[in-house]
Each structure stands twice: as C-alpha cells, then as structure tokens.
Symmetry: C2
Subunit: 194 residues, 2 copies
DNA sequence: ATTATCTATAGATCTATAGATAATGC
DNA sequence: ATTATCTATAGATCTATAGATAATGC
C-alpha cells in the first residue's frame, strides 16, 4: 500500500503520540489498542508491526514523554525561571489539558502498578528531572530534597485540582501549592546565601 | 439459601470492603466485578442485588473509604499530632500497603476521570479533611491553604515513592516530604504566634 | 411467599495473530 | 520481492441480566 521510505518510523511516532495522549486522558488500563490506532489513523492489526505488546507500548510511551518533559524543564536555569515553570505547571491551562500535560500527574498510581522493568525507566527519568531541578536549587543533597518535595507537591496539587469539580476549591489548591513551593524554594536559596 | 436476618447488609459491607481494597491495589478500571465478588466470596450475579452498576459501586466505595479516612485524621488534635499523622502517612509501611491506604494516593488520576456526580462526593470529603487539618493549623484561610499544600505534597510523595523501584530514592522522597511539610507547618504556626 | 444468592449466558469489549492486499524499489 | 498496513477472527475478558435454587420466617 501507499508508503514512503521512512513510513514505518513516522507511523511509530504517530502511534506513540496517540497513545501518549490517550493514556494521559483516559488512563493506561482504560485505553485500548484499537482506539489508539484509530487516533493514529491506522487499523488494530498494524499495531503489532511496531510494538510487541501493550506493555511494550507503555514502556516506550513513558520513555518518550518523560524525555520530552525533562527537556522542557531543563530550560529553566535559575530560581526565577523555576518559579515561572512552577506557575505554568500549576496553571488552570495545565489542569484542564491532561492529555498534553505531565505524565506523572496523569499516571503515577498506574505507573506504580507496572512491571519493575517499566518502573526502572520511570525512575531513570525522574532522577534526571529531580537532579536538574536540585542543581538549580543548590546542587547538594539539601537542594535535591527540596526539588523532590516541590515536585511531589506540584504533582499532588495538580491531581487534586483535576479531581475537584468546584472551580473555587480547585483554584485555591493550585494557588496554595504555588505559594508553599515558593516558600520552600526561597528558604532553600536563603540557606545558601548565609 | 443460607442467610440470616441482616445478611444483605453484611454482604453489602463485604462487597464494599473487597472493592475498596481491589480498587486501591489494582486501580478502578483494572478491577472487574467478578474478581471483587470472588474476594467477597460471592458470585458475579449477586453483585446486582446490591449495586446498580460498577459506577454505583465506585461512588459507594469512595464515599465509604473517604469517610473512614476523615475519621482517622480527625483524631489529630494539635500541631504535634498532625506531624505524627504525617510521618505515619509518609512511612514505608503505608507506601508498601496501598490496598489499606489513602484512597487519594491510590486513585486520584482515576477519580478525576469519573462522572461529575462522583467527583462531587470526593470533593465533599476532601473539603472536610482539609477543613479539619486547616483548623488545627490556624483556622483561617492561610491555615487552610497550608493544609491543602501539605496534603498535596503528602499525596504526591507517596505516589512517587510507590512508583520508584529503588528503595534509596523512594525513602529519600518520603523523607524530603516529611521535612518540607514540617517546615510549612512550623512556619504557619510561627506566623500565628507573632 | 419472600429473599439472597447462584447458574448460565448475552453482547460488547480487549489483546493478539494469521493471512491477504497493495504499494515501493530492485 | 519486500514491506507496511488491512481484514478477519480467535479466545479471553467484562458488565449486566434472566431465571433457577434454596434458605428463612410467616
């Protein structure tokens, strides 16, 4: 049928993107291969020329989307740009578009139920993300600890803001997390300035 | 068949308990009625004498388990007992037994995909939990905001600690969250003492 | 007679596979 | 001839329902 030289590479990328969105929107367990392939404008059977199994797809999706997230967050260079990234992470826009958003916020409880091999992939990327943030917060183990605490809070707050139907409570949760995170980051950088 | 006067009430409670554990262990979407009923030592068909649908069960489970969690957390009376509750929440024991643990940590992304009616039930309980914690942190909107930030951080840290296979990183995440939460709580009570 | 549960099954999924089809590039 | 995708389907789920069964309590 109609295909060009690197059709397969392109198709694989399309399937990855479709799956990545579906997983974050509907969850991993609730997303079927057929639906993902429909989003990628392909048929069910074509899937198995690209991935061995659904588990294989899940690994590939996490590897890919966490790599992208790391690159996005890596552009933040100092305390101020971290706070800007944080405000964007905890914005109503991010809350309302989980399909394009943070994989951790959309998928963490499901990730914790995946096979160890997949969770090792998750851990590798999480480490790099926390290392990157930790470096900008001081670089030592105390900066890294603050990065872990701030990331935990951001993920939890986004999830709570998404679960709650009331816009008031939802917005208050996001704002509380922004403020508390700023306090933690400022106190960490003050510690360093002394 | 073998049944006593309040057999049905008892059965309903058994199904609720079995479902509540299964949901937290395997996720809502990945838990089937048949498996839940097997855990409750009943057959598939008997389910529909107790609940209209799986969605109906999910609402009932959330209503029930969040009510229990609120009661558990309600026993914390002052700042010190809140910190004790926090250390138990962020303990390896809680991390390693999601089936008996916090419904939010196990289920939040799935909750955010449930029908609005179910999310309203979630919101009702979350409000009461945050109100309870906020009161012990000062009672005003600033105390409530700190409660929301601390709860967000605890939920996120527990999820991250569960997802990561390395015990070192997992423990470091839990410890970072304990420390950061204590800092936020202390700074909130200092604000009040001034 | 009423009630709680069980048996059996319909109908709609889901993952995965085997073989057919139709384009490209030699 | 090779390759990417499609068609068709097997076999295992899943939710939900209808009717049978067997106990209790009148």
């Amino acid at each position: 049928m109609r295909y060009n030289k690197d059709q397969k590479v392109k198709s694989r990328a399309e399937i990855l993107l479709a799956a990545s969105r579906r997983f974050r929107t509907d969850g991993i367990a609730a997303s079927g291969i057929a639906g993902i392939m429909e989003d990628a404008a392909k048929t069910n059977g074509a899937f198995y020329a690209h991935f061995e199994s659904k588990d294989d797809l899940v690994s590939a999706v996490l590897d890919d989307s966490l790599e992208r997230q790391k690159e996005d967050l890596g552009s933040a260079r100092d305390k101020d740009s971290i706070i800007a990234a944080l405000e964007s992470y905890l914005s109503p826009a991010h809350r309302d578009h989980p399909g394009d958003g943070c994989p951790s916020a959309a998928l963490l409880p499901e990730i914790s139920r995946l096979p160890r091999s997949t969770r090792l992939i998750y851990e590798k990327h999480l480490k790099e993300i926390l290392d990157g943030l930790g470096e900008k917060m001081g670089g030592d183990s105390s900066g890294m600890a603050t990065a872990a605490a701030v990331f935990s809070m951001a993920v939890g707050a986004l999830q709570l803001a998404r679960a709650v139907p009331s816009d008031d409570l939802s917005g208050m949760i996001l704002q509380s997390a922004v403020q508390a995170a700023e306090q933690l980051i400022t106190s960490e950088s003050d510690k360093r300035a002394r």
